[in-house]
Amino acid sequence: MFEAGDQLEPMTTPPRDRLDIAYMSVAMGDPNLVHLDDTVAAESGLPSVIAHGTFVIGYFGAYLSRLPGGHELGELKTELLAPVFPGQALTVQGRVVAGAVAGGGTVIDLEARRGEVPIARGRAQLRAAPR
C-alpha cells in the first residue's frame, strides 16, 4: 500500500534504435516520416528522426501495470516535453500524490527523463480493479 509522497522505484527503458522506431510506425500505421526520414525530421528543426511519443505513453502504462496491488488505470494524462532520439534510454519514475493503491483512488505523478533532461510528465489515476 502506498502513501502520499512515496517515491516509487524507477524503471529504465531499453534504448530503441531506428529499426525499433520504424517497427512502431508499422504497429501504429503511422505515416509520419519524421520517425523514418532524417530529411523530413530536419524540416521540423530536428537533428534526426525521433521516436513516437507513444513510446512514452507505453512506458508509463507498463510502469503502472507493474505496481503491486489490485488496481486498474482510470485516467492517464501525458505531456511530451522533449523528443527522444534513436539509441536513448529513459528513466520512468512515479510519486504518489494521493491515496493508497489497495483502497483505490490513487493519484501518481509520472516523469520520464533522459539523464537529467525531462522528456515527459504525466498523471495517472488508479482505481481498485473490479473483482
Binding site: 512502431m24 501504429m28 500505421g29 507505453g58 502504462g61 507498463a62 494524462k77
Partner: protein
C-alpha cells in the same frame, strides 16, 4: 492556411488484434519472453489506442488541413471507462476539440486537439482520448 475545425468524421471500427499488440509491445522492447504472444481477453497495452492507429492519422490530419511533414505529437489524456481488452472491436468516433495558435521559436505553433470516443459492440463507452497534434511553423530560409 487556416485549419478546418468543423470537419465531421464518420465512425469506424477498430479491432485490437493480437498481432498489432505484439508489434506494439515488441517496438517498446518490453516483450516478457522470447516468443511471447498476446492473448485475447488480456488488457490492451496503454498507448496502442490512439486515433493515429485506430482511425488513421492521414485521414484526420488531411481533413483538418494539417501538414503531416510539420506535425508532431504533444500528448494525450486517456480516460478508461473500463479496461479495453485484446480482441475487442471498438467503434471509433473522432472529432476536433479545439484549434489554438501560439508563437514558437520557428514561427507559429498550431495546437489541434483531436477527441476520440471508443465504444464496445454493445455501444457502451470504453475509452476516451484527447490527443494534441502540433503543427510547427515554416522555417525561414
Amino acid at each position: 492556411m487556416s485549419l478546418n475545425g468543423d470537419v465531421l468524421f464518420n465512425p469506424r471500427s477498430y479491432t485490437a488484434e493480437r498481432v498489432k499488440v505484439q508489434e506494439f509491445v515488441r517496438a517498446l522492447g518490453l516483450l516478457p519472453t522470447d516468443g511471447w504472444e498476446a492473448v485475447d481477453g488480456e488488457p490492451v497495452p496503454v498507448g496502442l489506442l490512439m486515433y493515429v492507429t485506430t482511425y488513421g492519422a492521414r485521414d484526420i490530419h488531411s481533413a483538418i488541413g494539417l501538414d503531416m511533414r510539420r506535425t508532431l505529437y504533444g500528448g494525450t489524456t486517456s480516460v478508461f471507462h473500463r479496461t479495453p481488452l485484446i480482441g475487442e472491436t471498438f467503434t471509433v468516433a473522432p472529432a476536433v476539440g479545439s484549434i489554438t495558435e501560439r508563437d514558437g521559436r520557428g514561427g507559429a505553433l498550431t495546437f489541434v486537439e483531436v477527441r476520440c470516443e471508443y465504444a464496445d459492440e454493445a455501444g457502451a463507452p470504453v475509452f476516451s482520448e484527447r490527443s494534441v497534434a502540433i503543427q510547427t511553423g515554416v522555417r525561414d530560409v
